[in-house]
């Protein structure tokens, strides 16, 4: 199947590994990703809380461009996914807002007719391709790897039928089928603080400490995330957390597609894993069928 690909700003820079691994995974599974040409920054969640109409216009521009491609738009970053999805929903429900946005879009000769579906690679993999199909293509079993699947808050809330809000299972089931062990991880949907790391670092550091603590308590080997902001918060600030709270975290934080890519036989270089601050290495794992 073909999808329109919206990388978003982070995937071009600090989360390059996510971009590389998403492309690898989709390619290996025989799915086509066509990058949206001339896409612009989605505005991210924070903008919408301050200037709603403008943020909707900025976001809707991407939707209008993507609509022409005729395929579902896939946005790996949780924030981009949330924003594009919310924009789509607001334009569907609120005709006054839609009229305003249409007016702005017309200035660039664009039009959005609400024909687009906004998707996230995790649910595309699970719903469209299917866990069984992915597991059958796995080259390396993840047996022995203890993962803490961290969904973060944006991907499940507000409710858009993505998965259960309190206890989502998509990553759990996917990686279980690949042989990994899901540890007990009650913090899986706890907020990482997002942008607060830059504005209120004390709050954010504490939130991230709790998440890491929960993962380490149950001996996780790696935390898998779906969002560049969560990933950078959890990984890049581990030193600061250690200093502040006198802890000793050295937990690798990967994007879930990087771990999936490894199972599908990708090399760390192909998946951008060499960019990680805290190194992750798959132990000598069983080759062959994952299940």
């Amino acid at each position: 199947m073909e999808y329109t690909y919206y990388p978003g700003c982070s995937l071009e820079a600090s989360a390059k590994g996510y971009d590389e691994s998403v492309r690898f995974v989709f390619r290996t599974l025989g799915q086509k990703l066509v990058e949206l040409e001339d896409w612009n920054c989605c505005g991210a969640t924070y903008y919408m809380s301050t200037k709603e109409t403008t943020s909707l216009v900025i976001s809707a521009r991407n939707l209008a461009l993507a609509e022409k491609y005729g395929h579902d738009i896939v946005a790996p970053c949780s924030s981009c996914y949330t924003i594009l999805y919310k924009t789509n929903q607001i334009l569907k429900d609120n005709f006054i807002m839609k009229a305003k946005v249409d007016q702005a879009l017309k200035k660039e000769n664009l039009q959005y007719n609400l024909h687009l579906k906004v998707r996230h690679p995790l649910e595309v993999l699970v719903n469209d391709i299917g866990i069984d199909s992915i597991a059958s293509k796995a080259k390396i079993s993840l047996y022995g790897v203890k993962i803490a699947p961290y969904y973060g808050c944006q991907i499940v809330r507000p409710d858009r039928g993505f998965d259960d809000k309190e206890n989502p299972q998509m990553m759990n089931l996917l990686f279980e089928a690949l042989g990994a062990e899901n540890i007990y991880f009650p913090m899986k949907v706890r907020c990482c603080g997002g942008m607060l790391m830059t504005t209120y670092p004390d709050v954010a550091l504490e939130l991230n400490k709790k998440i890491l603590e929960s993962a380490c308590e149950n001996d996780a080997d790696v935390v898998l995330t779906t969002c560049p902001l969560c990933q950078i918060n959890l990984e890049a600030y581990q030193n600061k957390i250690n200093k502040k709270f006198k802890t000793d975290f050295h937990l690798p934080i990967l994007f879930f597609t990087q771990a999936l890519g490894l199972a599908l036989g990708g090399t760390p270089k192909e998946l951008g894993i060499q960019r990680s601050i805290i190194p992750f290495q798959l132990k000598e794992n069983v080759k062959g069928e994952a299940r």
Binding site: E166, N167, I183, Y184, P186, E217, N218
Partner: protein, 1132 residues
């Protein structure tokens, strides 16, 4: 009345500023004064006041008014007031019209000009209308002094006692097997902490003993007809299966093998299928929980209670299982080996994995019984002298003889062949049913007083006339279907080596040689064909081939028989049929065959075989056995034996009574059904025995107890065996045990039994796969141990019709159990309880005997109690459940009293509003309970459940100190919301009630009339009207009773005459209206051939008025002229 006589008075009310604020009242008055026939128009500040009413009365008297219009508030408020005022002035109340210019004008508009215009239009309309109104009289209906109360909780009990004490009769209907409702589940009640059972049970006993209360427990209302004063209610009294002889000795619950979660204990412990809800239940008897009948029993043509004996096998009670089987089955050895088991085909286990091997389990039990010495001969008490003869000793005749013998008769069986047993002896091969076992079965029946005479053929050796002449009083013909059908192909009757299936098998079984060559062909796909094939193999045939004209899946033979044959080396060729038998020197040498293809389904539902042109080919065979079905041999039917035959040459008999056209002669089995099965023939035999007995007793041939095959309801993998079990698709799988068989190469060398039966361990294991469909498996163990003989599994539901004048609904509440509870860990963590669950924990008769312990038995160190779970929540219920704050405090007190645990209570507001409630709250505060203002956000586990003891962490915001906190506890109690009952929709429909937005029943007025409803004669009280505590519930029950008693004492109730009326001159008697009336209020006068409205029940909905094609049905108070006048008034 001619128009000159109309004198209208119009009065426009200011209602203070309520109307005057938006509507220019004086302008309206002036406009009205100009309208035709208006004698006087006034305005006044408060028309409803005494001076206001006096103005109207004075004008009527002094100005001779004969019509009045008042423009003020809603008729719901004051129509009665003004009508009464008119009556005081001797003016008929229906010559008054009210205009609502407050709620419908002033309150909904802001613009004074348009508001006034609207008010003027409305008043004008009323003035035009009222001119056409005519006097009417209210209808007076006599009130039946009986009352129905639906719901036996504390509200129903209180009301029942109140009304019964006045000397009037009360019917108290309760759905559960005992009254008491939710209050019976409580331990202590707030604020006095008295024990709930102690204050409730005396009232319950009073209800049981009161002479004016008829208690219909375990019953539900099914249908309601009529209206206030005269309701006819049909109540379904569900069968308890326990009679009044029960002494509550409890022997039955101990022996019952079925255990299901106990709903009274909120599913925290188990109870058996026979149970008493709680020790002080009223009525104080037991009840058996049956959810329909298991499909195995439903579909068995003799109604064998398979689930019952399977349950007994699972408990190793083999003797009881054998006894149960024999109670219903006269040929258990036979059935355990060769029955075609419709029970297995319908067994619900098939939706999980595979059906239970019921036939093999029956075989195991009967073999076990035989090894222990065999069954005891039954005691037969009464002896009957009447002579009965049964013609045919097959399964049908034997079953009939068995049951007749049990009833005390000594029937004689006449059998044509030299051996007894019918098809069992001469159709079924030895390796499936050994003759030794069949004869054991037949001997047992003979010992009961049955004699079998062989070599007696009907029509040859005796006739029906002869029998009656010899003094036989009844005859049962069960001669079966033993005549082979011919294929009618050339050569079929010519050559040696061509046999027909049933003849082949019969001759072998009777000892006549049937030489079989080495290349044998079998034509046909049924059991006879398979039997013939496997028999031929055992006679040394080298190659046995079955030729079948359709494909495998259309073959009527049993799948495992086909498989057994294939294992033994039988080959099967599909889609081929012979068209000619080719012979040489008088013996068969080949078959000319033609290939077939499958076409559209024929009358049997299977694809029709169509010959393929040009595909004829010869196949070499030296023997052929043709087994293409049988038909009855009815050569004895003659003018002397003048039985009526059907077009298929079967005897015609009544399917219910098995009577034929000859009096005293009954017929059943294959001779009536055509070639069928053993068990269907047995079903006929058992029915015939009952029919003959009734016939000889001179009783009518109705209400038979013997069972027939019933089709179970459609099910699929989403259904459950009963409501306490998981769905079929969620049930853990376990493969069906295969019965041991002799290896194929060994077994074809002889005719010894092929199947070897289950071992004891295998039988118990296979029986444990049974899902106990319908809860009670009817093993009859309870019946066996019940000394007073109070158990009757054949009881049926009864419908009782009662006539009452008024109804009180006190159906109570349910508690929230939905996804809302998941963030609090309910269902995820062990020690999270709902309020009712915890209530049972603290009760001394509950699952922990009142000890507050965690699931692992240890005492908790800290308990969190969370208020407002699902209440005051826009995502769930926006209302407050009213009682939770108080019972949460009660819990805190009980916990402090019995344990050393810390208690943390999380509230939003503390609602302790009642008498003694605030004092109770202060007391709890003094008991060192931590009361925290803040809603708990979530309950999470404090670590992996495998580590530690599963501490729960409460995460919340302490709003008084404005801090986010986390507290570890061992146990959490959720105060989950009170909700309407799940079946309140049904009650709403039955009694024409409405819901308020919160889902509880709607009262007439929330402040001034909380126990009446908009439906006359129906009242509500207690939690079904809205959440409330016990004091308020009792108060409402008494209040509703007062209203009910007041109406009873008035003896009559007034009904509005705004009803339909059918003009007898115009009615054409088409009766269209009869069925349209939703209240069944139209009667048809057969003599006059016209319809008439029943004034007592007509609600004035107008449906018949709209539908009547002759315009004979009119609405009183809403005539066409009145309505058009009103419309014109608005449009002017």
């Amino acid at each position: 009345m001619s128009h000159q006589d109309i004198r209208i008075g119009v009065y426009v009310c200011h209602c203070g500023t309520n109307i005057e604020g938006t509507v220019d009242v004086e302008k309206v008055r002036d406009s009205a004064a100009d309208a035709p026939y208006v004698t006087v128009a006034r305005d006044y500040k408060f028309m409803c006041s005494e001076p206001g009413q006096d103005i109207v009365i004075k004008d009527i008297k002094e100005k001779g008014l004969n019509r009045v219009v008042v423009a003020s508030c809603s008729p719901l408020m004051h129509e009665t007031t003004f009508r009464k005022a008119c009556e005081k002035a001797k003016l008929n109340r229906y010559l008054f019209q009210m205009v609502n210019i407050r709620e419908q004008c002033s309150w909904v508009h802001k613009d004074r000009q348009s508001g006034t215009e609207k008010a003027i239009a409305l008043v004008n309309a009323a003035v035009r209308r009222v001119a056409h109104q005519e006097s009417m009289e209210t209808v007076r209906v006599k009130i039946n002094p009986n009352t129905l109360i639906v719901g036996g909780g504390i509200a129903g009990i209180q009301a029942a006692l109140e009304i019964a004490e006045s000397g009037n009769k009360v019917y108290l209907v309760e759905k559960d097997s005992t009254i008491g409702g939710k209050m019976a589940k409580l331990d202590k009640t707030f604020p006095t902490l008295d024990c709930s059972a102690c204050i409730l049970t005396p009232k319950m006993v009073q209800v049981a003993q009161h002479e004016n209360i008829e208690l219909l427990s375990y019953s539900e209302v099914e249908e309601v007809d009529g209206s206030v004063g005269n309701f006819t209610v049909k109540v379904r009294k569900k069968a308890r299966y326990v009679t009044d002889q029960c002494t509550s000795c409890n022997d039955c619950t101990e022996i019952c093998p079925v255990k299901v979660p106990n709903p009274f204990e909120e599913n925290q412990s188990l109870r058996s299928a026979i149970y008493k809800t709680f020790p002080q239940a009223i009525p104080n008897t037991y009840v058996i929980d049956k959810e329909g009948r298991p499909p195995c029993r439903e579909t068995c043509p003799i109604g064998q209670e398979a689930a019952g004996y399977i349950g007994l096998i699972a408990q190793r009670k083999f003797e009881e299982a054998a006894r149960l089987i024999r109670q219903q089955n006269p040929l258990p050895i036979v059935c355990g080996r060769i029955c075609y088991h419709p029970c297995e085909t319908e067994c619900n286990r098939q939706f999980v994995d595979e059906p239970i091997a019921i036939k093999n389990l029956k075989r195991f039990v009967i073999d076990w019984e035989r090894n222990k010495g065999g069954p005891q001969a039954p005691q037969i008490e009464k002896k009957r002298k009447e002579k009965i003869v049964i013609i045919g000793s097959g399964p049908s005749g034997l079953s009939c003889a068995h049951d007749l013998a049990l009833k005390g008769y000594n029937p004689v069986i006449y059998e044509k062949l030299p051996v007894a047993g019918g098809m069992l002896a001469v159709g079924i091969p030895e390796y499936r049913l050994p003759k030794e076992l069949l004869n054991t079965e037949i001997d047992f029946i003979k010992k009961m007083g049955v004699s079998i005479k062989t070599g007696m053929a009907l029509g040859k050796d005796f006739s029906i006339e002869d029998l009656f002449k010899e003094g036989y009083k009844a005859v049962y013909i069960a001669t079966g279907a033993h005549k082979s059908l011919k294929m009618k192909i050339p050569g079929e009757e010519e050559f040696e080596g061509v046999y027909h299936g049933v003849d082949f098998l019969r001759n072998i079984n009777l000892g006549t040689a049937q030489p079989v060559g080495s290349r044998v062909a079998i034509i046909g796909g049924g059991n006879t064909a398979i039997d013939s094939a496997r028999t031929a193999l055992r006679y040394g045939a080298k190659e046995v081939t079955i030729l079948y004209r359709r494909s495998r899946k259309e073959m009527p033979a049993e799948e495992y028989e086909i498989q057994a044959a294939e294992e033994e080396g039988v080959r099967i060729q599909y889609m081929v049929a012979p068209v000619e038998v080719i012979g040489k020197s008088g013996k068969i040498s080949a078959l000319k065959c033609i290939k077939m293809k499958l076409g559209e389904p024929d009358s049997s539902g299977r694809a029709r075989p169509i010959p393929i042109e040009g595909s004829k080919h010869d196949l070499q065979f030296d023997t052929v056995i043709i087994a293409v079905s049988q038909s009855p041999e009815i050569d004895y039917v003659s003018p002397k034996v003048s039985l009526v035959l059907s077009k298929w040459n079967t005897i015609e008999a009544n399917p219910e009574t098995l009577e034929t056209n000859i009096k005293g002669v009954f017929a059943g089995g294959d001779v009536v059904l055509g070639p069928a099965t053993v068990i269907l023939a047995m079903s006929d035999g058992l029915r015939a025995a009952e029919a003959i007995d009734k016939y000889l007793n001179g009783e009518p041939l109705t209400s038979f107890k013997s069972r027939r095959q019933k089709k179970p309801a459609r099910r699929d993998e989403n259904c459950r065996p009963h409501s306490y079990a998981p769905r079929f698709k969620d049930t853990p799988r376990k493969a069906r045990l295969k019965i041991k068989e002799r290896p194929p190469q060994e077994r074809i060398k002889d005719f010894k039994e092929v199947e070897l039966g289950f071992s004891e361990e295998e039988a118990v294991e296979e029986a444990s796969r049974c899902l106990n469909c319908g809860i009670c498996i009817e093993c009859h163990e309870c019946e066996r141990v019940c000394e007073p003989k109070a158990i009757d599994h054949t009881m049926e539901d009864e419908i009782q019709e009662i006539k009452v004048g008024q109804v009180l609904i006190t159906t109570g509440y349910s508690t929230l159990n939905s996804d809302c509870l998941i963030p609090y860990g309910y269902g995820l963590y062990e020690n999270v309880y709902t309020s009712l669950e915890f209530e049972r924990i603290v009760s001394s008769t509950g699952p922990t005997q009142g000890k507050i312990v965690m699931k692992n038995g240890k005492e908790p160190r800290a308990i969190g109690i969370i208020h407002c779970v699902g209440s005051r929540d826009i995502n769930s219920h926006p209302y407050c459940s009213r009682v939770c704050c108080m019972y949460a405090l009660k819990f805190a007190h009980l916990i402090k009293d019995r344990t050393k645990a810390e208690v943390y209570q999380f509230y939003i507001d503390m609602r302790s509003f009642g008498k003694g409630y605030e004092e109770f709250y202060s007391r709890i505060l003094d008991e060192d309970v931590n009361v925290i203002r803040g809603k708990v956000a979530e309950v999470v586990s404090n670590g992996s459940p495998e580590n530690g003891e599963g501490d729960l962490l409460l995460r919340f915001e302490d709003t008084l100190i404005k801090k986010f906190r986390e507290i570890p506890v061992d146990m959490v109690v959720l105060c989950n919301a009170i909700e309407p009952q799940p079946d309140s929709e049904k009650i709403k429909r039955l009694f024409s009630l409405s819901f308020s937005p919160d889902g509880f029943f709607l009262e007439k007025h929330p402040k001034l009339d909380p126990t009446a409803t908009a439906t006359d004669g129906v009242y509500i009280a207690g939690c079904c009207q809205g959440p409330k505590d016990i004091p308020d519930t009792v108060a409402q029950a008494s209040s509703a009773s007062a209203r009910i008693l007041s109406n009873i004492s008035k003896e009559e109730v007034e009904v509005e005459p705004i009803q339909a009326f059918i003009d007898p001159e115009l009615c054409a008697g088409c009766r269209l209206c009869n069925d349209l009336c939703p209240y069944g209020a139209i009667l048809f006068d057969q003599e006059k051939r016209i319809s008439k409205v029943n004034e007592a029940t007509c609600k004035g909905c107008g449906t018949c008025v709209a539908a009547c094609p002759s315009s004979a049905a009119k609405a009183k108070g809403f005539s066409d002229r009145q309505v058009f006048a009103e419309i014109e008034g608005i449009l002017e």
